[in-house]
């Protein structure tokens, strides 16, 4: 990359990314927790079939923004969202939108692996069951198997599908949670620091998985690890103190960012 001239790099990237349509559009998004304002008029668009990484120091609002995308903030008392977020042209904060349906289209994987205290099979079948995506035993078997395949977990658990999901290792649990999210066939998957509770080997597996999932899903990932953002994402957005500092191609972001604060953060000067 560094061999190319700056202008050439930008041109190449523009051509590459500009062809990708937007899946979600966030316009002037602000979030308040009671009196406290956590996000300030963020304008951030998420491109389809792309991994977008949200980075920034702790408390910068990146997780808050992520949770506005499937309205998980609704479950927090006193939380208020202003601005407009669309998913394929639909305003997701429109009162006419069913939040349950929205979350089926925009799935989520959390920081700490949180398998339900049920069997591995039932964990994956949970979403299809409540949304009526499968009816017969054979259909359930199929959706569970394909989801576990997509999450790269099938070979490890195929012989113990009816053992509790909580009995798996941390990394396996997280991939089970990804399989659980995938089983609903969402369009977007949100990941809130999915590897922060995992060891390096499990992290590598999850990262590899994210890479593969990109072909079928739009992924937004919050991460504290600069290397992880560089490894898995194509677009990166940098948050600081509730503001969106910069959003750019990941390659450009890590070699030649537009904003000084991004440069400082990436170089480890603050955060």
């Amino acid at each position: 990359m560094n061999i190319m001239s700056e202008a050439a790099v930008e041109k190449a990237l523009d051509q590459k990314m500009n062809t990708v349509p937007y899946k979600m559009i966030g316009k002037d998004v602000s979030v308040y927790y009671g009196e406290k304002r956590a996000l300030f008029d963020v304008n951030l668009n998420i491109r389809e079939n792309t991994v977008t990484a949200l980075i920034g120091p702790s408390g910068c609002g990146k997780s808050t923004f992520l949770r506005t995308l499937n309205r998980m903030n609704d479950t927090i008392e006193n939380c208020r969202v202003t601005g407009k977020i669309t998913l394929d042209e639909d305003d997701i904060y429109d009162p006419a939108i069913d939040v349950v349906e929205l979350r089926a289209r925009v799935g989520m994987v959390f920081q700490k692996p949180n398998p339900f205290p049920k069997s591995i099979f039932d964990n994956v079948a949970y979403g299809p069951r409540i949304h009526g995506l499968a009816r017969t035993k054979a259909e359930f078997d199929e959706v569970v198997e394909t989801s576990l395949h997509k999450a790269g977990l099938w070979n490890e658990v195929k012989d113990r599908l009816h053992e509790p999901g909580t009995g798996l290792s941390g990394g396996q649990q997280q991939r089970l949670c990804i399989a659980r999210a995938v089983a609903v066939s969402p369009e977007v998957i949100l990941m809130d620091e999915p590897c922060s509770a995992l060891d390096p080997i499990a992290t590598a597996k999850v990262e590899e998985l994210i890479h593969e999932l990109r072909t079928n899903f739009t992924i937004v990932i919050v991460t504290h690890s600069m290397q992880q953002a560089a490894r898995v994402s194509q677009r990166t957005a940098m948050f600081h103190l509730g503001n969106l500092v910069e959003e750019n191609d990941t390659d450009k972001m890590f070699t030649n960012p537009d904003d000084q604060r991004t440069q400082d953060y990436i170089m480890g000067r603050f955060g």
Binding site: N70, G107, N114, F116, K118, Y126, G127, I130
Partner: protein, 494 residues
């Protein structure tokens, strides 16, 4: 010196010791607190403990031992003639001697000398001073009483002197121990630990004592009535016999009482569990924090109402209401306005007891439901589940073992409940399955058997202990099982 004054003095010495110990440790620190191993307060406490604890222990032991010694010594001064008559007479004489001794303290020296010379009557002299004697006094009693008084006086002085000496000696010993590197903190810590152990063992020993006394009395009952008749008998008819007549045997069948107990508890649970559980789910999952913070204490107020109040609520309100409404219903359907629910019945008791149990169910279940990690809720909601799907499919299954434990604890309360049943279900020990008729429970019968002036020698009263131990075993079993389940549940998330 009276015992309370003595105690006060010991505490005073303890106080002084505390400050003395503090001052000495401060002096040794040479103005630099970090020279000391323990803070001055610990040194003070260490000295105070040495001053108070041994003295208080000796005082306690003395207060127990001294009267026994004085009694036996006074007993020895009684004349041969009395002593040969055996236990009861000696104790009676000793009791009189003690009354005389108490009376002598109120007499002047002239009156006492008149008594000693025999010119005045002992009983009338003492009666004039307000001391009643059970019989005519004997002359030897005056000598014995004087001996008793003298010994008591010496005993008091000796006790005061010894105890105060020990207190001071303890304090002085402890003060001499104080040095910069002395580990006063660890010593104080050990005393703390000791007192905590003593406190918890008192609680445990009391339980053991209660169980042991119940067991021994129940054992006596089972020598009169065979356990087989008791545990498998289907007729409860204890037949109160006049005291002392004996021989009047009754039938002590546990089954009707146990059936009533379980039936009423079952109806109560049928009523309390759905309402309590739904209330808990609402409080834990749906209610806003503000509503929750007011509604939850309000619900728990129900738990603070004395059960006797529930009892007359049942007697005055619920019972007649059920009776009248059943008469109306019957009239509407058959034209015959005859009530089919008795005012005192299993349903009345069950409903009112159920109301009493609601706060237990809801409060315990609420705690358990809120213990389910937030991550599980988020996980389910994030998959597009609604709140009620989340509750039904994730939270309740996760909390189920804990909720079952809570229900078992509640059931053991229902089984042990008395006052509501006495007033709401009556006292008739019958075996039947119609919930609209009266029935009674084990606890009610225990109260029944033990009310009034009774001797604990007949099976009619001793049966109460057998019933008590049975009930104890049932509730203990329920509690242990509940705790086992709750504990198993805790491990899941840790």
């Amino acid at each position: 010196m009276s015992t309370s004054l003595l105690l006060l003095l010991i505490v005073l010495i303890g106080f002084i010791s505390y400050f003395a110990g503090r001052a000495r440790s401060l002096a040794q620190a040479n103005g630099k607190l970090s020279n000391l191993h323990s803070l001055p307060g610990y040194h003070g406490s260490y000295v105070a403990i040495w001053a108070i604890l041994p003295a208080a222990l000796v005082l306690g032991a003395w207060l127990v031992a001294a009267p026994m010694y004085i009694d036996s010594s006074t007993r020895a001064t009684l004349p041969e003639a009395v002593q040969t008559q055996g236990g009861a007479t000696v104790e009676l004489a000793l009791g009189q001697v003690k009354s005389v001794a108490g009376g002598l303290k109120r007499l002047t020296t002239e009156e006492i000398s008149a008594l000693e010379s025999g010119s005045a009557n002992l009983r009338s002299t003492l009666a004039a001073k307000g001391v009643a004697l059970a019989g005519e006094g004997e002359p030897y009693m005056i000598t014995a009483a004087q001996h008793f008084n003298a010994m008591n006086a010496t005993n008091r002085w000796l006790m005061s002197a010894v105890v105060l000496l020990i207190a001071i000696a303890g304090g002085v010993y402890a003060i001499r121990n104080i040095a910069t590197r002395f580990r006063a903190r660890n010593q104080v810590e050990r005393v703390m630990l000791g007192s905590l152990i003593v406190a918890s063992s008192i609680a445990i020993l009391t339980t053991v004592g209660i169980v042991a006394s119940m067991l021994s009395e129940a054992g006596r009952f089972f020598t009169m009535v065979s356990p087989f008749e008791f545990f498998f008998g289907t007729v409860w008819d204890p037949r109160f016999a006049a005291a002392g007549s004996g021989g009047a045997s009754g039938q002590f069948g546990l089954i009707p009482l146990l059936a009533g107990t379980l039936y009423i508890a079952f109806v109560a649970m049928l009523f309390a569990v759905p309402i309590g559980l739904f209330a808990a789910i609402y409080m834990a999952e749906y209610a806003s924090p503000r509503l929750r913070s007011t509604a939850k204490p309000l619900l728990e107020v129900l738990a603070g109402i004395p059960t006797i109040v529930y009892g007359f609520f049942a007697l005055v309100t619920v019972g007649p209401f059920l009776r009248d409404i059943s008469a109306q219903l019957n009239g509407l359907v058959t034209g015959n306005y005859q009530n089919f629910i008795q005012a005192q019945s299993v349903v009345t008791a069950g409903i009112v007891m159920g109301i009493m149990l609601i706060p237990f169910v809801s409060s315990l279940s609420d705690d358990i439901i809120t213990q389910v990690p937030r991550a599980l809720r988020d996980g389910s909601l994030g998959l597009g589940a609604t709140r009620s799907e989340t509750v039904k499919k994730v939270i309740l299954p996760a909390a189920l073992p804990g909720i079952v434990g809570a229900l078992l604890l509640t059931a053991s309360r229902a089984v042990g409940e008395t006052m509501i049943v006495v007033l709401a279900a009556g006292v008739a020990a019958r075996m039947q399955i119609n919930p609209f008729e009266p029935m009674t429970t084990v606890t009610v019968k225990i109260v029944n058997q033990l009310t009034g002036d009774l001797e604990f020698t007949s099976p009619q009263t001793l049966v109460a202990f057998a019933l008590g131990i049975t009930l104890f075993v049932i509730t203990l079993g329920l509690n242990i099982y509940a705790l086992y389940i709750v504990r198993k549940y805790r491990e899941q998330y840790e």
